[in-house]
Amino acid sequence: MKWILLTIIVFSTVLGDLLQSYEMKRSGEQSVNVQGLAKLLRMIGSRKYLFLGIVCMAISFFAFMALVQTEPLSFAVPASAATFVLETLLAKFVLNERVGFRRGAGALLVLGGVVLLAH
């Protein structure tokens, strides 16, 4: 069961973040005051990819809650940190972001740090 939950967490997080990033880049810069946050809330209902991204995040959230009830955090946290590398790669190839040496090396350092932190 834990591997199924972990697979759900990783894939739903990656897909959710990609969809959110794609949709938010299209929408232009958004503000973070009260009106801005209310607008973002309305956007979730009106943009299908953004809505799908939030659904993916919700699936990931509930799967993580279920995973940490049966497995130790020292397993759940580093295993789900695989999303960093996967998201950085997909950001380059799907969202056409420029991921240079510093950004790639930074993502790998963070991954190593998260694995160490959980032990």
């Binding site: 973002l40 953004l50 950004r103 993502a107 350092l109 694995v115 160490l116």
Partner: protein, 158 residues
Amino acid sequence: MPSLTAPAAESCVRGAELRTIVLTIAVTLLNSCGNLSLTWGMKHFSQMVGLSPLPYLKAFLNPFVALGVVLLILWLLTRMALMSWADLSFVVPLSSFGYVLAAVLGKVFLHENVSGGRWWGTGLIFAGSALVGSTTQRTNTARGGEAAQSGRSDRYAA
């Protein structure tokens, strides 16, 4: 749109970068505090949660779980705004600094042990975040029709 002089454009970019860093810190804090409150509430919730939605709904009646959920909704919205300002490959590693904060909060509030390996992990995350933070926050300036059609100014175009 009138073009900016080089110092004005540089000042504009620096202001935008500072704004992004401040929002990243806010996003990280909201996530860490939300997770702490949620974990605290769930640890005092005796019923197991699984695939059925009913135990989740019951868990929301716990004030710490409810506070955690509210903070995580705010985290989600501010993170969406952050993604409209910066690349996904910039936001994700940088916001992982929350893991460091979670370790500190866990030690302070939940009295957890922080081993030598964990401090090494903290150092690596700090170094990785600093490395990513030193890169350009937005490399893909392609915008969809809406932003362009509305005629909004683009701080990256300067």
